[in-house]
């Protein structure tokens, strides 16, 4: 069973088509990247997978649950992180994690908080208000929140945006290790081609709401006759078809 199954997914806002009938699957333990220029439909796709936006057509199934009818059963076993959605700034790191631990019904919550804080280098900041953290610490907190319920499906929107290269690299290594250890399916939207090449098993190239190319990073480079994924991205983004 696919962890994520999307069939004929579309979203129209009046005359504007944000997502145009896309279909894909993400298997358990697989990392799939959504790539595309601004406005290609990545964020709308993630928002529909999370139940924030209702599709105009198509079907989403996550961990066997139809998101149109049974989204809360799926939401309990998935999670999400984005640098563009904040956590309450006045609450401490531990308080934020406690809130989300309760929301997701995490057993042994205090132990889980310390475990995640240890793994993500947040132990020293547990009592610090989230608003006083550096960008890197905030990103690690967002990831800790996203992992608090040991999700079977993880959606990440630009997980290393605004991080310095060292922190970003360590975060990628941590994500790869987490996937290997947990078998979690990860769908990530990113503009960082090096990140996508390093982490992803499959890449979905979006353009004007449609998937125009798909495959492993190496296969896409071969298909487009380019050396890097960035060159493939530019070729697609600037194509005139």
């Amino acid at each position: 069973m696919a962890a994520i199954r999307v069939e004929g997914l579309s979203k129209r806002y009046g005359p504007v088509t944000a997502v145009a009938g896309i279909s894909f699957t993400v298997a358990a333990g697989e990392i799939v990247a959504l790539l595309g220029a601004n406005g290609a439909g990545k964020t709308t796709t993630l928002a529909m997978l999370l139940g924030l936006v209702l599709p105009s057509a198509g079907r989403i199934e996550i961990l066997g649950h139809d998101m149109a009818r049974d989204r809360f059963a799926a939401l309990a076993r998935m999670n999400f992180a984005s640098p563009y959605i904040a956590l309450p700034a006045r609450l401490s790191v531990a308080e934020n994690l406690r809130v989300y631990g309760h929301l997701y019904g995490v057993a042994g919550l205090e132990r889980r908080i310390r475990e995640l804080a240890g793994e993500l280098d947040l132990l020293a900041f547990l009592d610090r208000p989230a608003g006083t953290l550096s960008a890197g610490q905030k990103t690690r907190l967002a990831l800790a929140k996203a992992l608090i319920n040991r999700p079977a499906v993880l959606l990440l929107d630009e997980p290393t945006a605004s991080l310095d290269p060292d922190t970003a690299d360590r975060l990628r290594a941590w994500l790869a290790a987490y996937r290997a250890a947990s078998g979690c399916a990860i769908l990530l939207a990113s503009h960082n081609m090096a990140e996508v090449e390093r982490l992803s098993d499959q890449v979905l190239m979006l353009r004007q709401g449609a998937i125009v190319a798909r495959g492993s990073p190496a296969a896409l480079c071969g298909q487009f006759g380019r050396d890097t994924l960035e060159a493939v991205f530019l070729a697609i983004a600037r194509a005139t078809w």
Binding site: A47, L52, V53, L75, L87, R90, L91, S92, H102, L103
Partner: protein, 273 residues
């Protein structure tokens, strides 16, 4: 089956507690927010309390009328505190850009509403206690001397605060944070129709049906009956209770419709803007 239902109930209670804990943690670190709870009720009490005392001292009002003014202001402030406790707690999620995380968590919409009601009750208690105490110390007015009926009066006005807030939150969901000003204005708009300081019969005939459609008008008629010894006020309270149920149901349906529309229109993605 029963075990499954109990487990679901405990899960729901834990999610409601998660949100209540989130707000308690916030208030623990923010004394200006706590001060704001009591500021409005105390200020209004002082204004109306001294006005009542001045009128009584100059023969313009009986002691009964003075008591009516003070009781009126205390009860109406309870309605305001209830409405603000609900809707400002919702706005806190928008201000902190946290709403997106909540809507993609297993938190059900009705659990969100339940948590906002709990916060409303806490704000009502924290905000009204100082004003009730001051009314006793400054004006020798003990609202609890009215008897158990006073709890029903407060409860009905708190319930009115919930459905008014639910309607405002539904409006914000649909139209964005630009509509947040309604949080501070809608209840004031209902004040003249609520007949807080005068009977409904004092209103122009054309406005009376509107007043009778509000639970608050029945509550204050009941208050006047209880204070004047002209009745227990329970009949008015029964009307208020029934109206609150109808309005609460109507606003819950509106909330559900607007939430659906917000999800269809993509408004939840950019609610803070």
């Amino acid at each position: 089956m029963a075990k499954g239902a109990m487990s679901a109930g405990l899960g729901a209670a834990r999610r409601v507690w998660a949100l209540v804990y989130r707000h308690l943690a916030l208030y623990r670190r923010s004394w200006p927010r706590l001060l704001d709870f009591a500021y409005g009720p105390v200020l209004q009490l002082l204004i109306w309390g001294f006005t009542a005392r001045f009128l009584a001292a100059h023969g313009g009002a009986s002691a009964g009328l003075a008591g009516l003014l003070i009781a009126g202001v205390l009860l109406w402030e309870a309605a305001l505190a209830s409405q603000l406790g609900f809707s400002v707690s919702f706005l806190e999620e928008i201000w902190s850009r946290n709403l997106g995380h909540l809507f993609v968590s297993p938190l059900r919409p009705w659990e969100l509403i339940a948590a906002l009601i709990v916060m409303s009750v806490l704000r009502l208690l924290a905000g009204m206690m100082p004003a009730i105490l001051l009314a006793f110390l400054l004006y020798a007015f003990d609202i609890f001397a009215l008897g158990p009926v006073v709890l029903l009066l407060f409860a009905n006005l708190a319930a009115m605060g919930w459905w008014v807030a639910l309607g405002i939150v539904a409006f914000i969901l649909r139209h964005g944070a630009g509509a947040e000003g309604l949080v501070w204005t809608v209840m004031f708009g209902l004040t003249p129709l609520s007949a807080v300081f005068y009977p409904v019969s004092a209103l122009p005939a054309a406005l009376r049906p509107l007043a009778w459609a509000l639970p608050s008008a029945h509550v204050f008629e009941g208050l006047r009956a209880a204070l004047s010894g002209g009745g227990s006020g329970f009949r008015d309270l029964a009307f208020a209770f029934g109206l609150n149920l109808v309005w609460l149901l109507a606003m819950a349906l509106l909330f559900r419709r607007e939430l659906h529309a917000a999800r269809r229109g993509g408004a939840l993605v950019s609610l803070g803007e």
